[in-house]
């Protein structure tokens, strides 16, 4: 098994497994920085995975499908924001509702579009292509490591930098962080915390939609029922463990990506499939343990003041 691990293929497998989690982690980070735990990432990703298939098929272009999916992801973020910020629904309850609607709704929509309840195999979708970088691909070792990945993987890595710059170098990013940390302080200088949180949730929706798009147009090339498979929740853990910073979240997302890639490789071994399937979730469980612990400490800190 070791021989399969230290290869360019396994490196690619890690990146592939990391990509959707990474998008979702960035989405979680932006929302968290604005003071909202976006637990609806799971449902949003699932919706986006289906939208990706449908709209890349309708436009017959992966880019067209991606743009529409991102727009719809933003819309989902807007809906969550409306429930949480306008109707004052508990943010966790609103998220659970979206996730449940996604579980049933995606199957219903798929049935309507493809006549199938399990997969979207009959829809002629256009997956995102793999990207070869000229010149770099000719470099030995480095070329085979860095080239030939899905274009969404590159976008995810770029997104880490973009989100970092956005949060820490732009006025809007500063406002998001201020609102998340001390809403009253932000409002006292004339920042509308509601507006800022709306923006943060819409951006969160757009980012996670990119992850969802990759699930059905890259990771796999079709939509299958419940294909987000907990990645939205894993991302929440990853973001939190990374202190809700893009760079920190990226590192943890890679860790989870490795766990996922391991699980994929180990399926070829004699260890029972069901056990192996547990690996990414077990990693998350441990991660969430740390997450909860840190939250508890934070609450104690807040309570102690």
């Amino acid at each position: 098994m070791l021989s399969t691990i230290f290869t360019a293929d396994f490196f690619a497998a890690i990146l592939r497994a990391t990509t959707p989690i990474l998008f979702a982690t960035l989405a979680a980070a932006i929302a968290a920085k604005s003071g909202i735990i976006n637990m609806a990432l799971e449902g949003m990703m699932l919706f986006a995975a289906l939208f990706g298939v449908i709209f890349s098929s309708l436009t017959q272009s992966w880019a067209g499908g991606l743009l529409i999916t991102m727009a719809l992801g933003g819309l989902l973020g807007l809906i969550l924001a409306f429930f949480v910020l306008n109707l004052k629904t508990d943010e966790i309850l609103a998220a659970i509702a979206i996730n449940l609607v996604a579980t049933g709704g995606t199957v219903l929509l798929m049935l309507a579009f493809s006549g199938d309840r399990g997969t979207s195999i009959s829809i002629q979708s256009v997956p995102a292509p793999k990207l070869d970088i000229p010149f770099l691909q000719d470099v030995p070792v480095l070329g085979s490591l860095l080239c030939g990945h899905n274009v969404m993987t590159y976008l995810a890595l770029i997104a880490v930098v973009v989100v970092h710059i956005f949060l820490y170098k732009t006025p809007l990013g500063l406002k998001i962080r201020a609102v998340g940390e001390n809403k009253n302080a932000a409002e006292s200088v004339g920042i509308s915390s509601r507006r800022i949180q709306y923006i943060a949730l819409i951006l969160s929706g757009i980012l996670v939609a990119m992850g969802g798009f990759f699930m059905s147009g890259g990771y796999m090339s079709m939509f299958t029922k419940d294909m987000a498979a907990g990645r939205g929740y894993i991302a929440l853990a990853a973001s939190s463990m990374g202190a809700n910073t893009p760079i920190g979240g990226f590192l943890v997302a890679v860790l989870f990506g490795i766990a996922q890639a391991f699980a994929n490789v180990m399926q070829l071994s004699t260890i029972p499939y069901e056990l192996i399937q547990m690996v990414p979730y077990l990693t998350t469980l441990i991660g969430l343990g740390i997450y909860s612990y840190s939250r508890m400490k934070k609450r104690q800190k807040a309570g102690g003041k």
Binding site: L174, K175, R177, E181, G190, I191, K297, K301, G304
Partner: protein, 517 residues
Amino acid sequence: MEKQIVLQMLNIMKIYSNGVVANEDVTLELEKGEIHALLGENGAGKSTLMKVLFGIETPDQGKILLNGQEVHIKSPQEAISKGIGMVHQHFMLVPSLTVAENIILGVEPRKGKVFIDFNKAVDEAKKIAETYNFDIDVTAKVEDIPVGIKQKVEILKALYRGADILILDEPTAVLTPQETAELFVQLKKLRGNGHTIIFISHKLDEIKEICDRATIMRNGRSMGTYRVSEISTDDMSRLMVGREVAHSFEKEAAKCGDVVMRVRDLTVYNSQGVLKVDGLSFDLRGGEILGIAGVEGNGQSELIDTLNGINKKYKGTIRIKDADIQRMSIKDVRNLKVAHIPEDRMVSGCAGTLSILENLFSNQYDRPEYSGKMLLKRKAIEKRSNELIEEYKVKCRSNKQAVGMLSGGNIQKVIVAREFSSAPDIIIANQPTRGIDVGATEFIRQRLLEFRNAGCAVILVSADLNEIFALSDRLAVMYKGKFSGVFTDVSAVTEEELGRYMLGLEHAEKLEGAIYE
């Protein structure tokens, strides 16, 4: 020379939707370049009036004239844009951001169209700090700077936004005497620069020291505006409270009894692992009030929570009436006749949504007088609760009213009634009169003295130095988890001296004998 009037609030009326008349026909006039005190008890309507001015509340009647022009201020943004700035009592700062970032938040200088120009932000923050002679490191994170500096940042924030009129809501409540003195110097400079300052307070001596004029409020009405130099503190307090308040207590000499609490080498770390109480030892005797002064955050809260049996993680020993409380539950500790007035009345003092009656009995509902085998004895509880409400003068409609609906002073009276009615031998009072009106304060202090005279031991933690001076028989100052000073003759201590110990500029060499045997 006639002074120029910059702001007039004329006949302001504000009735809240729950029917509370917060402001009734209140008129406030500000002269340019004055420090104007807004004086009144809690609930007198000061905050509401300022909320109206700052655009947080809209008045039901009356008008506001700014430089002679009528204005309608609908939001804090509008107030800010019209040159009105407010420094809130609870700081409106983002802890993880730097001083400069906090100052420019919302009006960030930009590099190109997209990015914040952080260098310019630092430069501008420095410039504004220098203009007003504020000595601040603008690149420090707000979470790392002391309270006094945070307040300066708040003031700078308002000035940076072009505030001509500054509202300061009880600015000295969180400051040490030295920090207060420094603040006053700054405020005088601002006044010299032509800024107008509204200084909300109920500390008469501070108003005497720094304010030019004072508008006194009581029960939502203005009791008039006076030149501070022409009115005595007694008159001010009479107008504020409506009756003469005794400022110093007639205190009998303490009749110290036996040691009821013996603390040795007490060490407490908080949940973040920070050392908060550092090897404290002291004895507490029946019939004395041990005052504990100190800047907030020097371990007072942790000390009190440990003495009460709430925090179990400590090293050292606490013996109450010769019983080691390490393994006792909070209830066991209370059964040793220990009463506790907690620091934060809304968080740990009461259950806000429950009724006065339910709150009054939350520490003694299971006593045989009030509880049968299965059900509570309603009649007995009703009767006793009405007695307590009367005895402690809790202003309420009935004992069924939710405690959270009462004013701060009345909530505190409910808590005090509950704690004192358990017939304690030891009272641990943490900020018992913080943020409540003069009447309730007086009442609670008087009660504490009565208990002390009857042989009860009292530990009093307070940020109010007047309270500490007035009540304490012995006085200890906490600094970084230790007693930096202990005074057995409280009358010989000056505020300045106390301040030096509070800031850790001086340390007592030898505590043995003064604070324990």
